[in-house]
Symmetry: C2
Subunit: 74 residues, 2 copies
DNA sequence: TAATATGTAGGCAAATATGCCTATATTTTA
DNA sequence: TAAAATATAGGCATATTTGCCTACATATTA
């Protein structure tokens, strides 16, 4: 198993999240509103700027109607 | 798809993490040392007290040598 | 091209996680 | 049972995330 550092992991995660958000037809703003998140958070997460919580990712998966494991499959 | 609130999710996640930690033969202390985490964090995560980051979970998966998706499979 | 929609950048205060610490409880082993 | 190992509880200072905000950049559409 290959080691992946935190920064590379967060960037890869964000890229994958963005892919699935678009596949489900959400803009960052729409997703943020449904989640009652601030819109800036979605942008920060997708760019790998911040290391968000597993609870937030679970909430995102619920709104996107995808299995949470899909968001970690990259 | 069933809605799972943050608290229930964190508790279920922690329970599953504990299961996989034990399957791999780690104590909380051993895991914390390898991760350079404080030991109290492992206990807090496994009990669902805190909502830790995806980066931390990735680091844990690396140390346990499990696919990160396994930790979200419950 | 021009207008509109979508996303990025960054400052700041408040909320939350984290590390470090001591003490206590629970579980496992001799 | 007694001792040792493992896990829980909680306080406190520091670090990080988050929401709210304004401004700017990029992409999409008329």
């Amino acid at each position: 198993m290959e080691y992946i550092d935190d920064s590379a992991f967060l960037i890869a995660f964000g890229k994958n999240l963005r892919k699935h958000r678009k596949l489900k037809g959400f803009t960052q703003a729409q997703l943020a509103i449904d989640l009652r998140f601030d819109i800036s958070q979605i942008s920060r997460i997708e760019r790998g700027i911040i290391n968000t919580s597993i609870g937030n990712i679970n909430a995102i998966a619920n709104i996107l109607k995808v299995d949470i494991k899909v968001l970690f499959d990259f």
